[in-house]
């Protein structure tokens, strides 16, 4: 069941992205930046976590969840340390995506050449 909903919700988030590409003629960078901000706002309103509970990877794999976990990390730290935690906590939860992209980027550059 969770697999079905992961597919549907994940697919629908991508459709929103495609509409931003094709109808509003945004570049990929603009589209993805917007989606991240939307994810952050949704989590600020407490709406994104329930979506992850509902759709699993369907909500946690799209880039919107990046905004969500940034807010999450900052929020956790802010609860512990007050305002200063807002700054220190931002990368608390999201480090995996960024660090693995950096590491695999470096490895990729070592082994691969662009195919064209």
């Amino acid at each position: 069941m969770i697999f079905f909903w992961a597919f549907v919700v994940g697919g629908l988030i991508c459709v929103i992205g495609q509409i931003m590409f094709d109808v509003f003629k945004l570049t990929p960078a603009h589209t993805l930046s917007t989606l991240v901000v939307v994810g952050a706002i949704l989590d600020g309103l407490g709406l994104y976590e329930p979506l992850i509970d509902f759709a699993g990877a369907g909500a946690s794999v799209p880039i919107t969840s990046f905004g969500n976990s940034l807010v999450h990390g900052a929020m956790q730290e802010a609860e512990k340390h007050g305002l200063i935690g807002v700054l220190t906590g931002i990368f608390e939860v999201t480090s995996a995506g960024i660090s693995s992209a950096i590491v695999f980027g470096m490895i990729g550059a070592l082994i691969f050449k662009p195919k064209g």
Binding site: L51, D53, L110, I111
Partner: protein
């Protein structure tokens, strides 16, 4: 230039493969082998409390499956929530937990809809049914599950 790159390439691939294998397998093996050694168990551990809990919780509308295990101090409950009620997952967990705390004030209670919790409790339950588990091991396992569930990402 090219051959050098190729050598680096193979080394890296091997390193990655080794890293992936060892990093992940280590934990796994430890947990599953432990119980086999201590299989000389005397009397079955009473699961009447958890059976009762299971019967009660399954009556809730939002719940599709329940799995519960208890020791003399703890009750661990894994629930599966119906798909469209999963939006309220946290609330449902909390509600069931507070209901149970009233009902069983002597126990420390852990309620979770986490998949991991469910898988683990199913394994524990099987062992309990086969009667291959001592109280000590059960306590050890519940302790492990509890600490696992406390971890945040």
């Amino acid at each position: 230039m090219f051959s050098k790159i190729k050598i680096v390439k193979t080394y890296l691939l091997i390193l990655i493969a080794i890293g992936l294998c060892t990093g992940c397998n280590g934990n796994h093996d430890q947990t599953s082998n432990k119980d086999l050694n201590n299989s000389q168990v005397s009397k079955p551990i009473s699961q009447s409390v958890s059976n009762q809990v299971t019967e009660n919780i399954i009556l809730e509308d939002e719940i599709s499956k329940v799995m519960a295990v208890n020791t003399d101090k703890d009750i661990l409950v894994a629930i599966k929530v119906k798909q469209f009620d999963r939006f309220r997952l946290k609330k449902i967990e909390n509600k069931i937990k507070s209901d149970m705390e009233k009902q069983y004030p002597d126990y420390s209670i852990l309620v979770s809809a986490d998949q991991k919790m469910y898988f683990e409790l199913v394994k524990l339950d099987e062992k309990l049914q086969k009667n291959t588990m001592s109280m000590k091991n059960l306590q050890k396992d519940t302790k492990k599950i509890k600490s696992l569930m406390k971890e945040q990402s």
